[in-house]
């Protein structure tokens, strides 16, 4: 009842306050969305991804390895709790151990990068392994890999497919 009364009397002080409040709500909304945009950018910058690439596979081979350097560029530790790609049935972070000249690929335990720490995924060593890939990706193609992080939004990386040099 009271509200209707106020709206019918524009000159009323309460109504002026209300108008200001409404504007404030709109402004704060705008502010909020602006903030969330810049926040999103900041979130993408929690990890720096350097020299990403995926080795082109021979025809008919459903397994790919992706390499890159992942650095935590924030002040606090970041945990990578998962990795995925829509093109693969199964995606895992693999570490490679050479024991008595025998190569063993194993799923990495969840990884925590301290501030400034780098996870190096490079040919002949640790990699993101994409398994059950149905499509054939040739040099020049790009594949999206998503890293899920603890308490932070996921980080998406576009990784180019390249032939071994």
């Amino acid at each position: 009842m009271k509200q209707i009364v106020f709206q019918h009397h524009p000159g009323n002080v309460s109504s002026i306050v209300r108008g200001i409040l409404n504007r404030l709500v709109i402004i704060s909304f705008l502010f909020g969305s602006l903030a969330s945009i810049s926040f999103a950018q900041a979130e993408n910058e929690v990890l720096s991804i350097k020299s990403p690439w995926i080795r082109e596979a021979p025809p008919g081979i459903p397994t790919l390895a992706a390499y890159m350097e992942i650095t935590n560029i924030t002040e606090s530790p970041i945990s990578i709790i998962g990795v995925s790609s829509s093109i693969a049935k199964m995606t895992e972070l693999h570490e490679v151990k050479l024991e008595n000249e025998v190569m063993k690929m194993r799923k990495m335990a969840d990884i925590t990068l301290n501030s400034g720490q780098t996870l190096e995924l490079k040919a002949g060593g640790s990699h993101v392994m994409l398994m059950g890939v149905q499509e054939s990706f040739k040099q020049g193609a790009e594949i999206e890999i998503i890293f899920e992080l603890k308490d932070l939004p996921a980080v998406k990386v576009m990784v180019p497919v390249k032939k071994d040099s």
Binding site: I61, L98, V102, M105, D164
Partner: protein
């Protein structure tokens, strides 16, 4: 009395001669030095015997040691679902082939032997190996035959017995083997295989044996 002394002296002299012989042999080996450095690999002065074996080539045809006779072979054991070590080794083989001078190139062939016959059908193997070089050979075989052959050439591999799904991985040695024209193991090259080092090594080994 005299004859006992004579016998003892003969034995002592004999032992000294034997020792000297050994010393000479060891010294000579030291002077010539190894054909390849320890990081690059191992050369067997006496090639390790491989013996008879049975495989199936990438056309589905049975092959045995005769297929490898009268040529030197660089051989790698792996599996095609391997996204890292195997394609890298095959890419190295491709580079090695290009780097060989003509005379050596004519004497050396290349083979990929899959230890994962459950997934590596002849068709898949052919597509796989020819992606790297149309001259490369690929083969696989019965699991028991593969185990036997691998053991004889010092290669270790582990295929999971009851994999949860088709995306299992196979542990395997990363050696590049050098088989001689009598199909015996002459040398192994360790990973990472630097093409230049393997090329130099193979050339020296072929010249020496």
């Amino acid at each position: 009395m005299n004859s006992i002394l004579l016998k003892t002296l003969t034995i002592i002299l004999g032992l000294i001669a034997l020792g000297f012989g050994f010393w000479l042999a060891i010294n000579q080996q030291r002077n010539t030095g190894p054909l390849i450095s320890e990081e690059v690999g191992i050369v067997y002065p006496q090639a390790r015997e491989i013996g008879d074996f049975q495989l199936v080539d990438f056309d589905g045809q049975p092959i045995d040691q005769q297929r490898f006779k009268d040529k030197w072979w660089l051989v790698y054991f792996g599996f095609t679902f391997c996204p890292d070590a195997c394609p890298m080794a095959l890419n190295d083989m491709k580079k090695i082939k290009v780097l060989f001078d003509e005379k050596i190139a004519q004497q050396v062939d290349f083979a990929f032997i899959s230890v994962d016959p459950a997934r590596d059908t002849p068709d898949r193997l052919k597509q796989y190996v020819q992606y790297f070089d149309p001259d490369f050979l690929a083969a696989t075989g019965e699991m028991s035959d593969l185990q036997e052959l691998a053991t004889r050439v010092g290669v270790v591999f582990v295929v999971p017995e009851n994999p949860e799904n088709q995306n299992y991985v196979v542990d395997h040695s990363t050696f590049m083997l050098l088989w001689n024209p009598q199909v015996n193991l002459q040398a192994i090259f360790k990973a990472p295989h630097k093409p230049e080092d393997v090329v130099k090594g193979v050339k020296k080994i072929i010249a020496a044996f």
